[in-house]
């Protein structure tokens, strides 16, 4: 994947397929500590212990269309390449959390990319709520789809007009907290 935001989208797709209704995306960048952390937490059906042991093995998958699943293994290899790691915590019927860490200044670290597009494409699913928290050197931005639904007075936030607005909203705010680093 060329962008971390594409990895994120891929992992969130797993959450959606696991019937999650709430997804929490947490991104923390700290350039002085040289860390880039991505956490994706859901309340989906979870992964049983047996499968969890080898979850980043490309030949471990729950999909039925074929026997290969590349999402987590691709993300893990990106993390390892950037002197970091990928951890998956899960409990059946409770949810799953994926935690990816990387060196911020590693030359192999892909750019975050268009995270706003990833968020918007997740919000296309009307049944899913997303909390997106991004911290850049201590400055914080939070987007909560439940809050947006409340303001709009409707659960139908998946119209292009609203989603494109959210996209620009995220982009401007990320620019603000990062001082134009995005």
């Amino acid at each position: 994947m060329r962008e971390l935001s594409l990895h994120i989208m891929d992992i969130i797709e797993n959450s959606i397929n696991a019937d999650a209704t709430l997804i929490e995306l947490y991104i923390e960048e700290d350039t002085s500590k040289n860390i880039f952390i991505i956490k994706i937490k859901d309340n989906g059906r979870g992964i049983d212990e047996e499968m969890l042991k080898n979850i980043t093995d490309p030949f471990v998958t729950s999909r039925t269309t074929r026997r290969v699943g590349l999402g987590l293994s691709l993300f893990e290899s990106t993390c390892l390449r950037c002197n970091g790691n990928l951890k998956v915590y899960s409990k059946v019927n409770v949810g799953t959390e994926v935690v990816a860490t990387m060196e911020h200044d590693n030359i192999d670290r892909p750019p975050l990319g268009k995270i706003e597009e990833t968020v918007v494409s997740v919000l296309l699913n009307p049944k899913i709520d997303l909390v997106y928290e991004h911290i850049y050197n201590g400055k914080k931005f939070i987007l909560d789809s439940r809050e947006i639904k409340k303001i709009l007075g409707s659960d139908e936030i998946n119209s292009p007009e609203v989603l494109l607005w959210i996209k620009d909203f995220i982009k401007e705010n990320l620019n603000e907290i990062s001082g134009g680093a995005f």
Binding site: M1, L6, M9, D10, E13, N17, R63, T65, G69, L70, G71, L74, K114, E117, T118, V120, S121, L124, N125, E147, I148, I151, L152, G153, S154, E156, N158, S159, P160, E161, V162, L163, L164, W165, K167, D168, F169, E172, N173, E176
Partner: protein, 133 residues
């Protein structure tokens, strides 16, 4: 800078639209968004579709995403499902092609044949020229 208060205006504006949509039969545009689709560039395709739908002011259209459609080498894949018509599968999409599909197929009702999936001698192809030859 944008603030959440702006959503209030959008709410007022879109309220009528949502009501309109419920009375009609809706066209669905579905984009494949599994690992294969994402890696092949499905996200810009999805965004282009949303932008074009918004630009043209199409109200009776739902943009949605799905998992792996099962034809990874042909990704990004876009399906257009019009009420009462057969589903049309477009393959090897990009943002520009996707915009054309929204304009010509979704809005004007004319299928963009050259981007559709073709089965020739049991092989799934997308190359329109091959079929002509």
């Amino acid at each position: 800078m944008k603030t959440l208060q702006e959503l209030e205006e959008i709410r007022k504006r879109t309220l009528d639209r949502v009501n309109q949509r419920k009375d009609r039969t809706t066209t669905r545009i579905v984009v494949g968004m599994a690992t294969c689709g994402i890696a092949a560039g499905a996200r810009p395709v999805l965004l282009a579709i949303m932008e074009e739908v918004e630009k043209l002011g199409l109200t009776d259209v739902v943009v949605a995403q799905t998992g792996c459609i099962g034809l990874c080498k042909m990704e990004p894949i876009v399906e257009v499902i019009k009420p009462g018509e057969e589903k049309v599968t477009y393959v090897k999409m990009d943002a520009e092609k996707a915009r054309r599909i929204v304009r010509e197929h979704v809005k004007d009702g004319k299928v963009v044949e050259e981007y559709t999936m073709h089965v020739i001698q049991g092989k799934i192809l997308n190359d329109y020229k091959v079929e002509k030859e």
